[in-house]
Amino acid sequence: MKKETIIKILNEMLATGGDFAESFLEHKTTKRFTYINNRLDQVAYNEISGIGLRLAQENNMYYASTNDLTLSNLLNLASELKENLTGKRKISLKKLERLKSYSYKLPYQYTDLELRDKLKEINDLIRKQDKRIEQVSINLSQVHDKVLIANHRGLYRQEKRIRTRLFIQVYFKDQEKIANVHFSKGLACGYELLDTIDFPKEVKRLLKLGLDKLYAKPCVGKVMPVIIGSGFGGVIFHEACGHAMEATSVADGLSVLSGKLNQVIASPKVTIIDDGTIKGAWGSNMIDDEGRKTQKNVLIKDGVLVNYLIDELNNRKMHMQETGSARREDYTFAPTSRMNNTYLAKGTDKIEDMIKSIDLGLYAVSLGGGSVSPETGDFNFGCDEAYMIRGGKVAEAVSMASLIGNTKDILKEVEMVSDDLALGEGMCGSLSGSVPVNVGEPTIKVGHILVGGVKDV
């Protein structure tokens, strides 16, 4: 789209007194290979191309999206937005700055045939491990996303983003017992992602985990101390406090952490960081979806809440600096403050000491997903891999353990933090859609948390 066209549309939007106008043009392709039943079962291709127009006046926001990019349609939509306001023009856009471009340089790309062979190799490696493996499903997906952002201040920036993710699920069955386990890795890079994975090691881990889960016993349902493993275990902080620190809910007083700035909200062992700049990380971008450079944001420092995640429009309500955190799933969503790569900073405690300190508890080696209500702080997580701790030792594997709690309690219950910080990737759903994020933490010990199992014991 030409610069002049963008300027024309933004100016049309501003004609009735709007004080903010923005366009977000996007072209995104997704290719997904599904290898299941010992064959390349499906290659899915998805291509979207459209524009999101955002107009604001003070704290009110008006948004339109379309994939009909004809000038007449865009001017009609701009009119539809401006008709919500009845004032006179306050500002107009003369020219856009020189285009600033950001992109990831691909070192090389596998061909589709090479990828099919690679997926077959992974499938065969897994299947030959054990006859109780009933099904293997491998998904490899790659997204190319080109965004072009312009606003009434003349900002004019584009970024070419690329993300690749491998997701393997292995299904085990032994008579009536069934279990499934997964491996996942995603990076902001091309198919060279596959070269960063030690497949023999990961397959061995999947086999052990699958067999442990297949014969796992019901988890004890009660309040107990819990050790949460490093990596994706950090989802507990993503859910327990990350969402509550997004300006989306903080600005309107809808978050359990609204008005708590500079207050002690967590154990002194807790320092939480959100960093959109980590090179190649799944949740990283060079610019956010308002065109600002992403940055490293310390949110909780030694237990004290020191910042929130802030976007342009919520800044108007909060009067705090934007943090490069505006994100959206695609052009059909208006952006708002979201997390990128959120993690708990590492500590100095030892995992062996954590286990020894517990008489009856749970070792949640890896967590599945979770969810939280930012208004109340109530959250829940599913455990993917969990073992009971009995008498200071790791004991039997347990199935379907859930961790349930409240933000303000759990943040204060972090008693020990180790030094094995790792990140794990996932998709995070919220107001502006589903976006790729990393969560992370070192192994931690939480003093008390309600654990729910499949049955009581």
Binding site: I36, R39, L40, D41, Q42, V43, A44, Y45, N46, E47, I48, G50, N59, M61, Y62, Y63, A64, S65, T66, N67, D68, L77, L81, D112, R116, Q135, Y171, K173, I178, A179, N180, G221, K222, V223, D252, G253, L254, A334, G369, G370, S371, S373, E375, T376, D378, F379, N380, G382, M400, A401, S402, I404, N406, L450, V451, G452, G453, V454, K455, D456
Partner: protein, 423 residues
């Protein structure tokens, strides 16, 4: 556009079908006494299905402007695909039109939703009311040169989340409602009902881990049923990824449970005459008196398994659990002592759809002699879907309109484990 693509496909020995969808959505959101956003979305999308030499692929696009490139992309995909399941294009020409040309009275709608703020006078613990209204209109056209199908529908969507605070205790409830005609009074009634329930949960506590009689309210049942729907899919059954992989035509659930899909039911918010592959939909019993009777099939797996396609490519429409005779109050009277769960959270991580295991954050209230003795929060519904649906005491008749596609009444269960933090 689609004619040109179909013609170019013929030249490359490709049978092509174009599913063109157009959707318009107008949405307004509110916070307390303020309108916070107005959003309009207008989108066209295309699902292209292509078949060549027993191989089939589907791609999703938002433009057909470059048909040559689209054909080449399809040929590249088919060249590496190893799936040689048979597939076919749709045959009959069909039409189903229910979308009305509606002039939305946005002024009236805004006034209605802003009036929700008046509930603060009635309920003094309310701190915030977030709400939203949307009107959705959709048109679908499936063209493959031998048949043409058209279908459209529209509906009104209402949302609210209400936060209450007493002392340092925050509670929130979410209300969703859909209707064919604009019906704010019904939505207001539902919001008030939810706030009344929320008040019961002020200063709520946990319970002891134990087995209880449990009523899952209609909304909780809809959430669970929606999450476990993939268990009926023929594909998941064939690939051994379903809880019901070995259970076709077997008694898997209580005889009290019958699950029906009736896509053309006029009482539904929307009706669908055909699915996204163009297969005509039909009335069917997925589960009849506890027996797994019908698998959900798309064309690929119907042909593979030599079964009938069931018109469910893209999902279900008007699926419901057959109701009993008792109202919600009568279910409570039958239960006497037990737990009512009216909210469950974490469905994307607290269930395993292959094994049926359920471990979900829940809230509700505890009853003794039919009377509420305490609100419950941060409790865990710990069971398995087969265990749950085999422990049905009674199914109610109180359907909800909180979902577009799935409907269910409240259900009373026995012997269900609820985990809690009370000693």
């Amino acid at each position: 556009m689609s004619e040109k693509l179909i013609a170019l496909g013929k030249d490359a020995s490709l049978d092509i079908e174009v599913n063109e969808g157009y959707k318009e959505r107008t949405e307004i959101t509110f916070l307390n006494d303020l309108e916070t956003s107005f959003q309009v979305a207008k989108q066209t999308e295309y699902i292209i299905k292509a078949i060549k030499d027993d191989k089939c692929c589907e791609i999703y696009l938002e433009s057909l402007k470059n048909p040559q490139a689209i054909i080449q992309n399809i040929l590249d995909i088919l060249a590496i695909s190893e799936n040689d399941n048979k597939n076919k294009l749709s045959e009959l020409s069909l039409a189903n039109h229910t979308l009305k040309e509606e002039h939305l009275n946005l002024k009236q709608i805004k006034n209605d939703f802003l009036s929700l703020n008046n509930l603060k006078k009635q309920y003094k613990y309310i701190t915030n009311i977030e709400s939203g209204y949307a009107h959705v209109g959709a048109k679908i056209k499936i063209d493959n040169s031998n048949s043409l199908k058209t279908q459209d529908y529209g509906f009104h969507e209402y949302m609210a989340s209400v936060t209450i605070k007493k002392d340092d205790d925050y509670k929130v409830c979410y209300v969703t409602y859909y209707s064919k005609e604009y019906n704010f009074p019904k939505f207001l009634e539902l919001v008030q009902e939810k706030i009344n329930n929320l008040y019961l949960k002020i200063a709520s506590v946990s319970c002891q881990t134990n087995k209880y009689k449990v009523i899952l309210t209609n909304e909780a049942v809809v959430s669970l049923l929606g999450t476990f729907l993939p268990m009926f899919h023929s594909k998941n059954i064939s690939l051994k990824q379903s809880l019901l992989s070995d259970d076709f035509q077997k008694q898997v659930f209580s005889k009290k449970l019958t699950i029906i899909e009736d896509p053309m039911n006029k009482e539904g918010i929307i009706t669908k005459l055909f699915d996204i592959e163009g297969t005509k939909t039909s009335y069917k019993e997925l589960v009849k008196e506890g027996v797994f009777k019908t698998k959900i099939n798309n064309l690929e797996y119907a042909l593979k398994n030599k079964e009938e396609a069931t018109g469910n490519a893209g999902g279900v429409c008007n699926l419901y659990i057959k109701g009993g005779n008792k109202s919600f109050k009568e279910l409570i009277a039958t239960m006497q002592d037990g737990i009512v769960i009216d909210e469950i959270e974490g469905l994307h991580c607290g269930v395993n759809i292959s094994s049926g295991d359920i471990s979900l954050q829940a809230s509700g209230y505890m009853l003794k002699d039919q009377k509420i003795v305490k609100g419950l929060n941060l409790i865990i519904l710990s069971t398995n879907l087969k265990e749950l649906f085999n422990n049905i005491i009674e199914i109610g008749n109180d359907y909800t309109a909180s979902s577009l596609d799935i409907f269910a009444p409240s259900i009373l269960f026995q012997n269900i484990t609820i985990a809690g933090s009370e000693e």
